[in-house]
């Protein structure tokens, strides 16, 4: 029997990061993610890691930039208002082609908002977030197990493409406890050598990590290079989960914690004999565009459910077959706005056609 642990989602992120060999963490306290720095502050001395509680979110993302420029596997974590502050550094990391993990255990907003679960940071996460027209890799776990697994995957993808990666959770997924089966991290054998990292030039030519390109044509060429990598991510690194699509008349799509409530609503609908299936994006960037296109070439009705007023639904609409109907149900986040399975079942009834 495999070892099963009852742990919080946030702890699973910290455990996955340590197992994946991350030894540099820079952060700043904010609810509902503080379990991550607390766990790492406690455990890093046992593995020789460097933990810094920075003076600000801005400093912590820039410490990550510096550690990453040295080729170290490094991370930061925060929640929505803190992630807004980190956007400057994330843009510089993207421009400098630096890997690194940024965890957003998102909370409700705008502004100080509240500490409730929220998916209102979808646009910020998948459309770049900061200035300059870049993307980060965005993975959205929906279980404590995925918090662990996708943390490891995020490091690997980030280093393979030299694109910063974001793990996008929320306060439900971060704070809930469920069973975790920890497993050893196995490094992919195709991770490229970090022949760009600074270390003191020591006999080799100078290395420079930068995002300033002023020469004629330099910046355009640099941006095309970045966009070729984003295309490679779309071609090779899309992750999603499907269930019950073979006979489905209605596809329900949701990501992260909302998908857990959706799964219950789908089970209730199936018990009533309704043919309802699930398409859950796991990678939000790259978005599963082809999966939506292929699914809606057969199934013409899609219901998108989010804990916001409609964000991912825009990417769904851009991806589906032209003759597919896309419906949306969502509630802006805040205390008491988490939908019940019965509430979502009613939405399924409203949009289901045999």
């Amino acid at each position: 029997m495999q070892k099963r642990l009852l742990v919080k989602g946030n702890e699973a992120v910290a455990m996955g990061a340590i197992e994946a060999g991350c030894r540099y963490y820079f952060g700043y306290p904010i609810t509902p993610q503080s379990d991550i720095p607390e766990y790492i502050a406690r455990e890093f001395p046992n593995v020789g890691g460097v933990f810094i509680q920075a003076e600000s979110e801005i400093a912590s993302i820039n410490m990550l930039l510096g550690a990453s420029a040295c080729g170290a596997r490094a991370m930061t974590s925060s929640s929505s208002p803190g992630i807004s502050l980190k956007q400057e550094g994330i843009s510089y990391m993207a421009g400098s082609e630096l890997p690194g993990l940024i965890v957003n255990i998102s909370r409700s907003g705008p502004g100080l908002g509240g500490i409730d679960a929220s998916q209102s940071d979808y646009f910020q996460a998948v459309k770049g977030g900061g200035h300059g027209g870049y993307h980060t890799i965005v993975l959205a776990p929906n279980s404590v197990q995925e918090m662990y697994d996708l943390t490891m995957l995020a490091f690997d993808l980030s280093e393979r493409y030299r694109v910063p990666a974001m793990l996008l959770g929320d306060s439900v997924i971060g704070q809930m406890k469920e069973a975790l089966v920890p497993h050893p991290y196995v490094a992919p054998d195709d991770l490229p050598a970090k022949d760009w990292a600074v270390s003191g030039k020591d006999g080799r030519p100078q290395r420079v990590v930068k995002s300033l390109f002023l020469g004629d044509g330099e910046l355009e060429a640099h941006n095309w290079k970045l966009h070729r990598k984003y295309q490679q991510l779309k071609d090779k690194e899309v992750r999603f989960e499907t269930n019950g699509l073979d006979d489905a008349k209605l596809v329900v799509t949701a990501f992260g914690s909302t998908s857990r409530i959706v799964m219950t609503a789908i089970r209730m609908a199936r018990e009533e004999g309704l043919k309802v299936g699930l398409l859950r994006p796991i990678s939000l960037f790259p978005f599963p565009e082809k999966a939506f296109a292929e699914t809606t070439s057969r199934i013409k009705r899609v219901l998108c459910i989010e804990l916001n007023a409609g964000q991912m639904v825009e990417d769904v609409r851009l991806s589906v077959a032209r003759d597919a109907d896309v419906f949306f149900y969502g509630r802006p986040p805040g205390a008491g706005s988490l939908p019940t399975p019965e509430e979502l079942l009613a939405q399924i009834h409203m949009h289901y056609k045999d």
């Binding site: 003076e55 820039n62 510096g66 420029a69 040295c70 600074v198 270390s199 003191g200 020591d202 100078q206």
Partner: protein
């Protein structure tokens, strides 16, 4: 007649033999040379990582033949913290202007200093934002005219010039803090000693070292280089005194 020839002056090996983009009379070139001389003196060029900031000094990597990371505006001490924590056995320095370090980056410099990060910070104070065209800086002197203080800095609304070397010397984490100028041969020789000392503090693992260098910006001051140099002596040094404010390496 046999005369033993001894070379007493040469181009620093840490500095590339290239033309700079600096304006005529700008003293960044002189300060670059002092930093390169310090690296050469300790033979650390091959294990030094520089952190460039935003402003006229961003092209650090074009002039120093060392590994360099470019930081966002004001964030160089945070970036350098990440670098130094990974490479604790390497020499790490930032090179920042007054807008970068004493305005937008105030938080980062104070906390990196307070943590006692084992880095060296070279702070170039020329009382203006040079790269963006001569706006008011946190170090702009009272009544000094700039493009954003066209009637002169009014301390009642704009506040006072910040004396960073003194301010940082009050932090426990700081091992060495000094201010120098490069407006005369005498001051340049003293600046060379102080910059070298700041690197020595790091080489010996004695903690955080900080050197503020008063510098002329003739272009944005609207002066020729000689008048700008004279202004450093007549206006800047009286407000920003040259001194070693803290040296915790001496008993």
């Amino acid at each position: 007649m046999s005369t033993a020839m001894k070379q007493v002056f040469s181009h620093p090996t840490s500095l590339k033999d290239v033309q700079t983009h600096f304006c005529p009379g700008c003293q960044h070139g002189t300060i670059h040379r002092l930093v390169a001389d310090a690296m050469d003196a300790f033979g650390v060029q091959d294990r030094t990582i520089g952190v460039a900031s935003v402003g006229c000094s961003v092209f650090l990597y074009g002039y120093f033949d060392i590994d360099v990371v470019e930081a966002p505006h004001g964030r160089a001490p945070a970036v350098a913290t990440g670098v130094k924590r990974v490479h604790s056995d390497k020499i790490v320095f930032t090179y920042q202007g007054d807008g970068d370090l004493a305005a937008i980056g105030t938080s980062e410099i104070i906390h990196a200093a307070n943590r006692g990060e084992g880095m060296t910070v070279i702070f170039v104070n020329n009382t203006t934002y040079g790269m963006t065209g001569g706006q008011m800086a946190p170090t702009t002197l009272p009544t000094q005219k700039t493009s954003t203080s066209p009637y002169g800095r009014n301390v009642s609304t704009d506040g006072y010039p910040i004396r960073m070397a003194e301010l940082l010397s009050n932090l426990e984490g700081v091992a060495y803090s000094a201010r120098v100028a490069v407006n005369s041969p005498k001051n340049i020789l003293q600046a060379a000693r102080v910059v070298k000392k700041a690197f020595e503090v790091q080489v010996k693992g004695q903690g955080f070292s900080f050197v503020e260098v008063l510098s002329a910006c003739p272009t944005n001051w609207g002066m020729d280089p000689l008048k700008a140099n004279a202004r450093v002596e007549s206006e800047m040094i009286p407000y920003f005194p040259l001194a070693i404010f803290k040296d915790s390496t001496v008993a």
